[in-house]
Point group: C2
C-alpha cells in the first residue's frame, strides 16, 4: 500500500502534550492557520480535522504540499518564517507549541529530541514518497494512490468502505500535479471499473480495495 506525504503516519509516535504552554486552537472550515511569511516560531500538532498545507505561486499556480490529519505535525520544514500557507478544510483542532519552549523541554528530556528526530525522519520519507508518486505515476495511478491512502487512514472511514473526501477536485489536482479535469476523468474511470462509487458529495465508497491498490501500486511498495 502506498503512503502519501503527511497522510503517512498512522498514529503520532510522540505528543507535545507534556509541554506546558501548548495551546489548543480551534478552526472552522476555511479558517487560516498560518500565512506565508509569518514568523515560524511554532509547530502545530493536528488533533482533529484536516489542515491543508500549500504554496501559491506568483502566476496563481498552487501546490498542495500535504493534507495534515490528526497526529501529523506541521511546521518542521520552516526556519525563520513559514514558507507555506495553512488552512482548515473542515472543523479542526490543532495544538500550537512554541519552538523555544520545545527546545527547552528537549534539553531536559533528551528522549523527546529523539522522538522529534524520528518524526522528522518520517516526514522526509513522506516527502520523498510524494516525489516518487509525482515522478513515476500516471494520472490514474496517482488518483488511485490518493484514494487508497485516504482509505488507509481508518479514522476517515465513516463506515465500512465509505471514506470522507473533504477536499475539492481542485485540491486533489493541486496535490497530485494534475488538472481538475484529469482528476475528474480518472475518478469517473475508477467508477466505471466498479472500483469506487460516489454515494454523496464529500464521500467515496471503496467497492474493491484490492483492485484499487493494484491500480495504485505499480510496484511501489515503500516501507
Amino acid at each position: 500500500m502506498l503512503h502519501f506525504a503527511s497522510l503517512e503516519s498512522p498514529a503520532p509516535v510522540w505528543t507535545l502534550s507534556p509541554i506546558e504552554d501548548a495551546a489548543v486552537k480551534t478552526l472552522r472550515a476555511h479558517d487560516p492557520l498560518t500565512f506565508e511569511g509569518d514568523k515560524a516560531d511554532r509547530l502545530f500538532e493536528v488533533l482533529e480535522g484536516v489542515i491543508r498545507v500549500y504554496k501559491v505561486f506568483q502566476d496563481g499556480r498552487r501546490q498542495i504540499m500535504s493534507f495534515a490529519f490528526p497526529g501529523d505535525i506541521i511546521g518542521f520544514a520552516h526556519e525563520d518564517t513559514y514558507s507555506f500557507d495553512c488552512d482548515a478544510l473542515v472543523f479542526s483542532r490543532v495544538r500550537a507549541i512554541s519552538k523555544a519552549s520545545l527546545l527547552r523541554t528537549v534539553r531536559e528530556r533528551p528522549e523527546l529530541g529523539e522522538k522529534m528526530l524520528a518524526a522528522a525522519s518520517r516526514q522526509i520519507t513522506a516527502a520523498q514518497n510524494l516525489s516518487i508518486v509525482l515522478c513515476r505515476k500516471s494520472a490514474l495511478e496517482r488518483v488511485a494512490s490518493f484514494l487508497c491512502t485516504l482509505a488507509g487512514r481508518h479514522q476517515f472511514l465513516a463506515c465500512s468502505g465509505t471514506v470522507s473526501l473533504p477536499m475539492t477536485r481542485a485540491d486533489i489536482a493541486d496535490y497530485l500535479g494534475l488538472t481538475i479535469e484529469t482528476v475528474s476523468r480518472n475518478i469517473t474511470k475508477l467508477r466505471g471499473l466498479g472500483v469506487i462509487s460516489l454515494p454523496k458529495t464529500g464521500y467515496v465508497q471503496i467497492e474493491n480495495i484490492q483492485r484499487l491498490q493494484s491500480l495504485a501500486d505499480c510496484e511501489v511498495d515503500l516501507h
Copy 2:
C-alpha cells in the same frame, strides 16, 4: 534561484566530527555505500565526491532521490532498514556515524540535537521543493533548474562557468522524472539558445547564468 533535493544545503551547518567512533569510508566510482534492506544503523556525511541515492522498482523503473554532495547527510529518512540504495558516482569519502553513538552524544550535548533537527528541516524543505519541481515544471524548466543548482554548488565549478557533470543522462532523467531522450533534447535546446555549451563530456559550461535561471525559475522562488 531554485534549490534541489539534497543539492540544497550550501554548507554543512553541523558536523559529526566530534563523535569518537565516526569512521571515514573511501569509495571508488560505482562502489555501493548501502543496499536497500541493510540495517539502517548509521548516517553518512559526505566529505568528498558525489553519492547517488536511489530506489529501483520491480519493473525496472528507477527514481533517484538525491545526489548527495559534500556537507549532505544521508540516512535521515530511514528507520530500521535502508529503503534506498546508495553508490558513489566518482571517488568519494563519507564519514559513517552510528545512530546509537550519535544519540548518546546528543544526550550530553543538546545543542547538537537542535542542529540535527535543523538539518532534518532542511531536508524536508528540499524534498518538498523537489516535489514542486516535478509537479509544476516543464522538461526544459527542470533541466535548466538542475543545471542551475549544480552551478550554485560552487565546489563543482572546476573553473569559471565550467560545472562538473558526473552523472549520466539516465541519472538526470531518473532524478527529474523524464526520459533520457527528453533530457538530451532539452540540453541540446539550451545549447542552441547559447545558454550552455558542452566543452567535453562530463562538464557543462554555463554561458549565461541569468538566462539559465530565468528559464529555470518560472516564478518558483523557494526560500
